[in-house]
Every structure is written in structure tokens, then in C-alpha cells.
Symmetry: C2
Subunit: 514 residues, 2 copies
């Protein structure tokens, strides 16, 4: 068995049985091993940003890492933006990156580059296998790193000769560590704050946003009167009718500040101290009001559900304390497409147990309230702010959960970065309904232009914001990659297209012309 085969067998034995791949010459022995090793599903992407984003989506839904297969430094580089997003989401990924044979690196052939240097900014674990006999052990260590608490981006660099030379066999992955516990002292401190009665925000993200974590937060809120919110962006949130519905801190600073201004305490459950997405002249970076005390109860990787359980218990909060929430009435929209009618249509269309991947940017700023009344679903967001996140993440989520419908909502500007995802969705017959909001402008930048104090854009500045010359034809782009699509211009058309898109199997695309 050669090094590549020892790695593929180690991955499968270690529970990493999906590989999102865009291989090249240096990775051919890994590819060849697929024919000899049962149990590895290899999914081809035509661009590496698709590959790494899919691994992120896979982890978020499966809770367990996939691997990637990337071609030397440039292949890794093309995947870095979505690795950045995955790292910020605390997703675990085993990146396998090919490299020249060890003895060939010094000759500076065209593809030679500093792969470790490229890997480090977006990886928490980086290693280059020195020889074929080390590959299996290094692979097992990479899996362990990807599964650690918090999960990590683990990048294993595989020189071609370590792939083709003879290896010793597979390696065992160290026992999966239990999800790290939590600090009782931090829970006691949070309980003391909440008992104090001053206005307190319980700010959640990560594991705290599971159905169970939210239910506990609802009890605590009912018992103590604290407010519960989510971060502006969260890796995954359990939502929909019957679940505790919470608001997120708004992206826009002017909207966030008044919401936070009266809190005396913020208790962080995995969340970060609320910080502005960008800096703006004469606006604060930190969003909490002056004098507000911040208390961390759990960090990423800790067991936030258990901590919330302990907190509820310390406070004497029980299920009956959870206050009923008023249900929003959903109504089928009609007439022209507006942000509100789009939100209503989507809220009505989300099927039971759907996965919603949200990169709707400005169009979707009002999507959250009405969709709280939709069928139960999981809501996935962009954690690193690098656009082009959603179509790959939707692809990986669909691979992880073939029985669930994935609804990918994306602005036209964002969708262009990784549009190759559609081809993988067609190839794998994935159940993804992509909704492209075609407002034909980087609309968010129009607001930001003003936000940073640059005033009113003139013609040349506007040319850098608008993407309407020429307009993108998303139905043609989807067709080019084997995905049936349709364009809609009214609410009625949109409602109809959504109903069909949800009912049909396989990938579909709707271009919402705004």
C-alpha cells in the first residue's frame, strides 16, 4: 500500500468519508486509491472555493469533518476565502494539499510556492508529511485536530513521493475527545448576574443555538426577564414554528446601538463581545454601551447546552417558565416584488426540516422575523464575511443531508464568486434551490460608501458598485452548468416558482429580478 492509499484508508477508518476535490497531477495517487478503497465519497468541484465551502457546509450539518483535496499552493489559495469563513464558523476540515515530490521542490518548477505559508493564516494545524511512512500518522493527527474542541482547519501537505512510495498501513485516530465541558464558575457568575435583576443580554451563538440550547435560553429569559439574542451572524440556528425565536444584533451600527444601549450586563454564550463588522469614522468599534459589564459563560468548543442547563438549574428556571411567543401570521404576498413580499414568500415556502443558507445580504435584512413562523429549519450564515460563501456551503450541506431541502439565498454579486457550485449540484443531483436576488448592484456598498463618510458616489465610483452593465442572466448561467432555472418579476411568479422548486428533486435556480 502506498502513502496515498494509507491516507485514504486512514481517513475512512477515522470517519472522514467524504472528500470534496479538485485534484491535479500531484494528487493522482490519492485519486487512484479511490478505486481500491471502499467507503470514500469523492465530490468534484470545478473551482477550489466550491470545494472548501462545501466542506464547511458539510461540517455545519454533520458535526463531523469532510476532507478536501487541493492542488499545490495555487489550489489551496483558491480555497482560502471559504476556509477563512469556515475557520470563523469553528468548522472542522481536513485539507489535503498536494505538493511536489520532496526532491523536486528545490528546482523551482512553475507550481512551486510556499504552501505552508499560504496555509497558516486560515489553518489552525499545518503539517507537511516528510515521507510515505509518516502519511497515515499525519492523516490521523489531522483528523484529530479537525475534530478537536473547538474544531480546527487542519491542513496536511502531501509531497507527491510520499503518496507513491510504500507505506506501512493505516493509522488509528486518537479517540474522539468529548466535547469539552464548561466552567462551573462561569455559570455561577452568570447566575449571579441574572439574579441581580439589572438589564442583562444573554448573547448566544454556536452550540447554544440548537433547539435544546434555545429552549433553555427561553426558560432562563422567562424566569429572569433577561433578553436573549443571537450574534449578527451564526454558523447554524434552529428556527421555525414551535422553537424559541430570537433576534440577532443588527449589522447596521445605528440600529444596533439603540438595541444595546440599556444593558448593564452581557453574558456571552460562545458569542463574541459585540463588535462592528467594519470601522467607520466617528463610530464605535465595540457596540456595548459605556459601563456595560461583559461576562463570558462559554467559549467555542465548550458545551454550551450543558452550561445553559446548569444555569437554568441554578436559577430554578423550568420549561414552564418559557413565555409563549406570538406567532407571526404568514400571508401569501402578491403584487410587485419588494423586500417584504420576498420575505413573506420565502417564509411560506420553507419546507419542514429545510436547511436555509443565507447570503441574501441587503435584500434579506428583513427575512428573519417572518421566517420565525415558517416550518422548522436550520439557518446558516456567513461567519467570515468573505462573499461567495453560500452556494458552496449549500452544496456541502446537501451532501451531508440528502433527505433535507436546502434553500440557498444569495445576492447576485455574492453568487458570482463561486457560481461553479451549480455544476457540482447538478452532477450530484443535490436538492438545492438557489434563489439569486438580482438587484444588479453591490447594494451593501452603496450604504457603506455613505457609512464611511465618502458622501454621494459620482459616476466613476458608481461604476465600481453597480453590476448592471451588462446584466447577468442567471437562468443562462444555471443552464450552462446543467441546473434548470427561471426568472421571476412579480410576487405571484415568485410564490409559484418557490412551490415548484421546493417540490422538485435536484437543483433548481430562481432569479429574482428586482
Amino acid at each position: 500500500m502506498n502513502g496515498a492509499e494509507s491516507l485514504v484508508r486512514t481517513l475512512v477508518a477515522g470517519g472522514v468519508d467524504v472528500c470534496f476535490a479538485n485534484p491535479g497531477t500531484s494528487e493522482m495517487h490519492f485519486v487512484a486509491a479511490l478505486d481500491r478503497v471502499e467507503g470514500m465519497r469523492c465530490v468534484l468541484g470545478l473551482f477550489e472555493g466550491v470545494v472548501t465551502g462545501a466542506a464547511d457546509g458539510y461540517f455545519r450539518m454533520k458535526g463531523s469533518p469532510a476532507s478536501t483535496l487541493l492542488h499545490l499552493g495555487p489550489g489551496l489559495a483558491n480555497g482560502l476565502a471559504n476556509l477563512h469563513n469556515a475557520k470563523k464558523a469553528n468548522s472542522g476540515i481536513v485539507n489535503i494539499v498536494g505538493q511536489h515530490a520532496v526532491y523536486h521542490i528545490g528546482f523551482n518548477a512553475p507550481l512551486t510556492s510556499d504552501i505552508e505559508g499560504l496555509a497558516r493564516p486560515m489553518s489552525s494545524w499545518v503539517r507537511t508529511s516528510p515521507d510515505a511512512k509518516s502519511v497515515a500518522g499525519d492523516g490521523a493527527a489531522a483528523i484529530a485536530a479537525a475534530k478537536s474542541s473547538p474544531p480546527q482547519i487542519a491542513t496536511l501537505i502531501l509531497p507527491a513521493d510520499t503518496a507513491w512510495n510504500e507505506a506501512d498501513g493505516i493509522a488509528q485516530v486518537p479517540e474522539e475527545s468529548q466535547r469539552a465541558s464548561y466552567s462551573s464558575q462561569a455559570v455561577d457568575n452568570a447566575a449571579k448576574v441574572l439574579r441581580g435583576g439589572a438589564q442583562t443580554l444573554l448573547l448566544l451563538t454556536g452550540n447554544a443555538l440548537t433547539e435544546q440550547g434555545l429552549a433553555l435560553a427561553a426558560q432562563i429569559a422567562g424566569k429572569t426577564g433577561c433578553k436573549v439574542m443571537g450574534q449578527t451572524y451564526n454558523p447554524r440556528m434552529a428556527r421555525g414554528r414551535g422553537r424559541f425565536s430570537i433576534d440577532r444584533i443588527p449589522y447596521v451600527i445605528e440600529q444596533a446601538l439603540p438595541i444595546l444601549k440599556d444593558f448593564k450586563h452581557i453574558v456571552l454564550v460562545e458569542a463574541n463581545d459585540p463588535v462592528a463588522f467594519f470601522a467607520y469614522p466617528n463610530k464605535p468599534s465595540l457596540l456595548k454601551p459605556e459601563g456595560c459589564e461583559v461576562h463570558r459563560m462559554t467559549s467555542g468548543g465548550e458545551n454550551s447546552v450543558a452550561a445553559l442547563e446548569a444555569l437554568a438549574s441554578a436559577l430554578g428556571a423550568r420549561p414552564a417558565d418559557a413565555k409563549p411567543q406570538a406567532l407571526i401570521e404568514l400571508a401569501k404576498p402578491s403584487g410587485p416584488l419588494t423586500h417584504a413580499s420576498i420575505a413573506q414568500a420565502i417564509a411560506m415556502a420553507i419546507p419542514e426540516n429545510a436547511i436555509v443558507v443565507d447570503e441574501s445580504v441587503t435584500t434579506g435584512r428583513g427575512f428573519f422575523p417572518p421566517t420565525a413562523a415558517a416550518h422548522q429549519h436550520d439557518w446558516l450564515q456567513n461567519m467570515g464575511g468573505s462573499i461567495g460563501f453560500s452556494t458552496p456551503v449549500a452544496t456541502g450541506a446537501a451532501v451531508a443531508c440528502p433527505d433535507r431541502k436546502v434553500i440557498c439565498m444569495v445576492g447576485d454579486g455574492s453568487a458570482m464568486y463561486t457560481l461553479q457550485s451549480l455544476w457540482t449540484q447538478a452532477r450530484e443531483g443535490l436538492n438545492v434551490l438557489t434563489i439569486v436576488f438580482a438587484n444588479r448592484i453591490y447594494q451593501i456598498l452603496r450604504g457603506e460608501f455613505d457609512g464611511v463618510g465618502a458622501g454621494e458616489p459620482g459616476q466613476r465610483a458608481q461604476d465600481m458598485l453597480r453590476i448592471d452593465r451588462p446584466t447577468l442572466d442567471w437562468v443562462a448561467l444555471a443552464k450552462g452548468m446543467g441546473v434548470p432555472g427561471r426568472a421571476v418579476t412579480t410576487s405571484d411568479e415568485f410564490v409559484k416558482a418557490l412551490a415548484e422548486g421546493v417540490a422538485e428533486q435536484g437543483p433548481r435556480l430562481i432569479e429574482v429580478q428586482m
Copy 2:
């Protein structure tokens, strides 16, 4: 004047008057400055790989750097693969990368990452401006680095507050250094080798492949009997009827070794000691025969034309010594599409003074001989091996040379990485004819699979090589981005489509279904 405006004015004053851009919030003051500063042409790309590749193509044709405008670490990351290719081509580029305001970086907002760490592997010069008053001077230093010998990828990182705070005005770029000269001793040594009479290869790239450099090499070859070849890949080569036509070292090792086996000496003119593109089991990395002596006459950044002039003079070689070369007879092909008929059709279609960007990979391995008899043109190749190079480079070349037709030849696998280039071509009305060779497989990998000793691919391995399920519809993809396209399946259709594509203004695409 704020820091951003001081930078834009410094760029324009320093001769950097084209900016390929994909900006975000942190770059809005740079964008705003475009409305106040005359003379900067800003070209929007919908993905950063388009932006950096276009800057590479621009430099290759203009000989002078463009700038880019990229959004923080992930925006830079998306552009790194084509910066890798540009760096290997010795192209000069001024990268401007936005960053959070200095005081905001420590708060770890979502887009925060190690931008300098990301920049270093593909940049020769990296600097973060510390404050607004430093921006103009840092910009001037970046321009000087980009214009140095050899030219450099210079990455200037611009925290948002250095863009919006008050600056002191523009900065002067140090006088452009003359292209470095050459070593007389190295020329004398080369002359001695060539006078010796042993079989010698004069191996050229870079500046030596201008019409003038090639003419001198022809005289030297005629006088001394040495062989003249180009590297396998070259940034730009002057070609076509009336120019000295040379072969390149084949990519395939088994073809390269017999061609090189009898040489006793290799004289390198900017070129590298011939090295295999990849390592393969039981095949050499270095391609020269045992005992062959390698002599470097010039390196990148040196004046190879002047060195060749001195060499010709030392050898007493004159224009009359250049041997006439037999002209290949071009004939209009007909019948089914084959690699040979495709090559003939292209050779006949290349218009006078065209720019040919070649990422035709396996389909194009036979394109070189017949196109030697085409109208005069420049031939640009991928220097770093990261695919997705050609459509952006063609875009930038067309911006640099609006009066020349650009013909971009690209495999379907490669074209998918940076297909967003087509939109920029449509937006700017660029004169680019893209020819996509749709063989629906990463055909090169089929050969490499065998080459690395992995044998015959089984079904699962083939699934990682073939991209035929579903097939890509390039006419639809082009239409989606505003570029008229047509598919051809016979030589006659291809000849007709080429003639129309060359005659028409603006971007066009031909899908060659093989």
C-alpha cells in the same frame, strides 16, 4: 486630501493609471477618490482572480504596472493564484489591499485575518501603511518596487483609517531605474562556449523573446550552428511570418529528453535550467543530459537584448548570418475537428498584430508549428501553472492594447476557474475572442495519472477527471455574462466562426465541441 486620494493621485502621477478592482467597504474612500482624480481608469471584476490576472496581462503587453484593488485578506486570497502566475512571469503589479482601521483590527471582526501573511508567498514587496500621512510615500515605494528589475508584485495594505484621515499630498516615485544591464563576463563566457563548437543550446525566455532578441539569436545560430529554443512556457514571445521561429522544450519529459540529449552546453538567456513541470517516479527532475554544462548569460531583469547584441558582436554574427526558415504552408482545414485541423484553422485566423493567450493545454500541444506561419502576433503563456490564467490575462491585455485583437485559447476545465472574466470583457467592450476547447475532461490529468505510475483509472478515479456529467454549455455561460457565443462541431464551422469572431468588435466566444 485624505490618504486614499493621496494614493490615487500618487498612482496616476507615477504612471499607474489603470486599476483592476473588486472593492469592499474598506476600499470605499479609494473608490470615492476616483470621482475627484482625473486619469485613473478603474475596471471592475466580479471575482478577484479576474482582477489579478488582468493586471498580469496588462503588464505583459504594456511593460508597465497596473494596480489592483482588493478587499481585505479574503479578497487578496481569491487573487493569489493569478498573482502566483504573474510573479513567475516577472510581471510588476501594485496590489492595493484594504484592511480594517488600525484601531479596529484587534477586535477580531469577521473579516479580520493575517493579510501580510497571505500576501508574502506571492509578493516580493509587502507593506502596511501605518497612517494617512504615510500612504502616498508607501504608494510611491510600491510603484518603484513594481517597476524594478526584475519587476515585482508589490502589495500595499491600506487600513481604512489611513484612507479616510487627512494626508499631506502626493509623493514622487523615484526615477524609473533603467533596465539593469548585463554581465560582460557572462557574455564573454557564452561567446567562448559558442566558439568551442560543441553542441550548444541557446535557451531563451523573457526579454530575449522580443522580435529583436529573436533576430539576434537567429544570427548567432546561423553563425555558430547552435540550436535556439524557448522555455516550455514564456511570458510573451514575438511570433509569426517573418520572425525567427523557435521551438519550445516539450512539456512531456519523454519528448524533452531526446531533444536535449546531445547538448554539451546550455546557455541560459533569462531562462531556467530546464526542469520537469512535475516529478514522476523514476524520471529525472532536471532535463539536461549528464555532463551537460549550463552557463547563465542573463537573469530576469537584465537586458537580454543588449546581451545578445554583445554576444553577436563578439561572435561576428551579422543579420546576413540568419538562415532563412522554411515557411509552413497553411491550408484551410475541413472535415471533423481534430487537434491538427483546429491548429490549422487558428493559424489561418490569427490577424495581424494579434495577441494570443494560450491556455489550450492538451488540445494546443501542436499549435506552435503551424502558427509560426500566421500573421505576426505575440504569444502569452501561463508561467505559474495555476489554471484559470488565460481569460483574465486576455482581459488585461485587451485593456492595455485596445487596437489589437486578443485571441484567448483555453480548455474547458481551465476556463471554469475564472469565467467571470467574460463579464468584464462585455462591460468594457474588449476585443477578446475566447475559444473554449470543450473536450469535457481534465485531459492532461488522464496522461498524468499514467505518468505518475497510477496505472489505468477505474470508475471512481475517472469521475475525478471527467467533467462531462453534466456537460458545460459555454454558449449559455457566455450569454449569461453578456458575451455572444456559438458552438462549433466541424472544421468548416470553426473556420467560419473564427473569421466572424476576428472581424467583429467586442468580446465573442466559440465553444469547440470535440
